[in-house]
């Protein structure tokens, strides 16, 4: 925790005005190594992290997430307020804001963008704005959102990539018969309002961004952001090659450093090995249905699940799989999620207790089951292998099945899997999204596990329109208590985002939601 706080403090120091010890230098192009290329640069219709994580550099939102991912800062809107009855939100647009082509950002653009983002036919993110009833403009500087019901997450939703403000006219003038075709063409040369503009994109190899001359925010030197002239993304799928290119000086930064290499890079004086706090949690999902495809399912027995949780030595897995980088979880959501509870690590390793629970269960002599892991994924294979050995101590014989992602997703969705290794990252600074998928049964049957708690479902529905922060906190505390003690998961650990930067790179941050933010980045000469 200390490390996280420290890192957060460092980031804050670099991001916020007046507190920085070093003077920012302007100019230069930052070259950043990514593990995969982006697919589709449309804020509303995309569905992959490779897009989400860089979109905010090109498309600005009305409000921005803070560097610690827990609160909200002004963006294209300089002020915002939620009405006393919590049934509307009013935002004031900044003066003189422009798109990257120099055209003014109008209230019409804002209304059009938000209407497009919340249209249920558009993409998979519209649920984030589902509470919005109308978007109107009382005058040419003010935007008003009226709500169908109070929504405690609505302000956070306006920081999420899908609510980015896009130029209506330029979008509609794009080639294509349908809106989807227009989006595909617009996405190849987008016009946005972020700190950078797409200059060229050589698919699968290189994406070049240049500074947006019309970006609104001021740097600490009083001139307009960004400090950099541009950002170049190089796609280097192989971890070892990506690190080699960083070490040879061809890259200024490289993302997703394997945990096995973190210690080595930490000891390299020319490299600054960052571990940015994230909302990523790693866990095992268990199918808890009474029977799966006609067979009895021992995982439906709560005693069995509790025994497996106690028999899983999380600390050992953190050591072997994350080389000590991960940390134990205190609840099913990451500690960087608002309203996450912390009553100490969940299920501290206790083999005797686990054996006792197994003896009390319907399967005192153990049973045979299986787990799905992503083929070739060293972390998942490592986790499954460790658990296989740990659970054999309580009489469980677990077969490891390596499959590819699409295969696993299909078995998962159809509820035919027994167990799987899984990970989750939040897209919004609110506990609602993760809880909806993990615990609230109507969304996807609680991670397709078949687990259901009437009380959790009721509490979740109530919390979705509860604007009293304290009351909502109580509701979430109870939801977490129920899920953590009886739920369908084995929580393993949470991990930061490992990013390696050259020593002379400053001000870059990957926020807990995953977004890579280059607007405050600068290069030392």
């Amino acid at each position: 925790m200390k490390n996280l706080t420290l890192t957060a403090a460092c980031i804050a120091a670099l991001m916020t005005a007046g507190t920085s010890a070093v003077g920012q230098e302007r100019g230069g192009v930052m070259t950043y190594g990514r593990y995969a290329d982006s697919l589709f640069l449309d804020p509303v219709l995309n569905d992959a992290n490779v897009d989400i994580w860089i979109l905010s550099n090109m498309y600005d939102t009305l409000l921005l997430p803070s560097a610690d991912g827990k609160s909200v800062e002004p963006g294209l809107a300089s002020e915002w307020s939620v009405a006393d009855d919590a049934m509307s939100v009013t935002l004031t647009l900044r003066d003189g804001i422009m798109f990257s082509d120099g055209s003014p950002i109008t209230v019409e653009d804002v209304i059009w963008s938000l209407d497009r983002a919340r249209n249920p036919d558009n993409g998979i993110w519209n649920f984030l704005l589902a509470s919005v009833d109308t978007v109107t403009a009382p005058d040419d500087k003010t935007i008003m959102l009226t709500l169908k019901q109070p929504d405690p997450a609505i302000v956070a939703a306006l920081t999420v990539f899908n609510s980015a403000i896009m130029p209506q006219k330029a979008f509609e003038e794009s080639e294509g018969e349908t809106m989807a075709e227009k989006a595909e063409n617009f996405g190849t040369h987008p016009i946005g309002s972020g700190a950078f503009v797409l200059e060229s994109w050589d698919r699968g190899a290189t994406m070049k961004l240049v500074r947006n001359e019309y970006y609104w925010a001021d740097g600490e030197d009083g001139e307009k952001l960004p400090y950099l002239d541009g950002v170049t993304f190089e796609v280097i799928p192989d971890d070892a090659t990506r690190i080699l290119r960083l070490q040879s000086g061809e890259l200024d930064g490289a993302e997703l450093i394997p945990f096995a290499r973190v210690a080595e890079l930490q000891s390299d004086p020319s490299i600054n090995m960052e571990l940015f706090p994230s909302t990523r949690v790693q866990y095992i999902t268990m199918n808890v249905r009474e029977d799966i495809a006609g067979e009895d399912n021992p995982l439906s027995d709560p005693n069995v699940r509790e025994a497996m949780n106690y028999a899983a030595n999380k600390q050992a897995i953190i050591q072997t799989v994350t080389f000590g980088v991960g940390k134990p979880m205190t609840t099913f959501m990451s500690s960087a999620t608002p309203l996450a509870t912390d009553n100490g690590p969940l299920y501290p390793y206790d083999l005797e207790k686990a054996k006792g629970l197994m003896a009390e269960s319907e399967y005192p002599d153990g049973f045979t089951t299986s787990i799905l892991v992503l083929a070739g994924n060293q972390d998942e294979i490592g986790i499954a292998t460790a658990l296989q050995q740990m659970w054999s101590q309580i009489g469980i014989n677990m077969e490891i099945q390596q499959v590819d992602n699409a295969t696993r997703t299909e078995q998962y969705r159809e509820g035919l899997f027994k167990m799987r290794v899984a990970a989750w990252t939040n897209d919004i600074a609110d506990p609602g999204q993760i809880t909806s998928y993990f615990a609230y049964s109507p969304t996807i049957d609680a991670l397709h596990s078949g687990w259901k708690s009437e009380e959790v479902d009721e509490l979740y529905e109530a919390s979705q329109s509860e604007v009293d922060e304290a009351k909502r906190g109580e509701q979430y505390a109870r939801i977490q208590e129920i899920f953590n003690t009886t739920g369908p998961t084995v929580p393993l650990y949470e991990t930061p985002y490992p990013v390696a930067l050259q020593e002379g790179v400053h001000g870059f941050v990957q926020i807990p939601l995953g977004n890579n933010i280059f607007r405050g980045a600068w290069l030392e000469d």
Partner: protein, 310 residues
Amino acid sequence: MPEFIARRLLQLIPTLIFILVVVFALVRLLPGDPASAILGDRAIDADVERINRELGLDKPIPVQFWVFVKSFATGNLGNSITLKLPVSQLIADRLPITMLLTFMAAVISLLMAVPLAFVAALKRDRPPDSIIRGGFQVGLSMPVFYVGLILLTIFGAKLRWFPVGGYGDGFLDHVYHLFLPAVTLALSLSAILMRNLRAAIIGVLDADYVSFAQSKGLATRLILYRHILRNALISTLALFGLSIGTLLGGAVITETVFAIPGAGRLMVDSIYGRDYPVVQGLTVALAVLVSVTFLLTDLLQAWLDPRMTK
């Protein structure tokens, strides 16, 4: 000869039809569908249905097959599901990169294999032969990605003679960037070619017509070219043609290690993404490429040994 070429070209047609059917069936037999791949763990039923509808995957299989065949007949291969770009454009962008890489690897492997095979064969069972064969044995037994990383570390990161991966800008820069990956790819192929060619040369060296040529007093160089190389190359050429398919397969790994945006990586990404149109289009394109290579090696063999056209 013209008749031979025509016959071989006609044989391509049933091959291509067979490939079309197999490719269509294979991608659909894979467990998981594009919606699962696109949406991943967060897929909810409504989104899956919407995507299947958008992609025409809710239609019966025969209808989908008809659409697929029609798309090939009209040359419009459709759009990539994940990249939203026309498949024909993707193939035109990515396949030449892999072709250049494969071509460079083929040339390098021949440049390594042919002279060394001669030396090894002429110095049979003496130290040069043992050294050459031993060296190639090591090359053959090392995994491609490992060789690639070693070359990158030594010649890229340490000596700075070559870039550490990537593809560069402009033709000469591309060739420069592709040199290390091509050497990596060429190593195992040249080992196989060298062994085959060495054995063939030894076979020819013992043949009566070579002894006869020597007794006629022909110059050694002329004997090497005219009689030995030409006859020994025939079987090696067949092996070389067959290896092009293996080289294209090896390019998948090489392109990942060296961060080259070629067709191999596109294929792997598309299979993981269940991007049916790209997998289908690219497989057919690669199949045509391999078939044409086979055809060319057949022609070359026929030219070297006219008996083959019979």
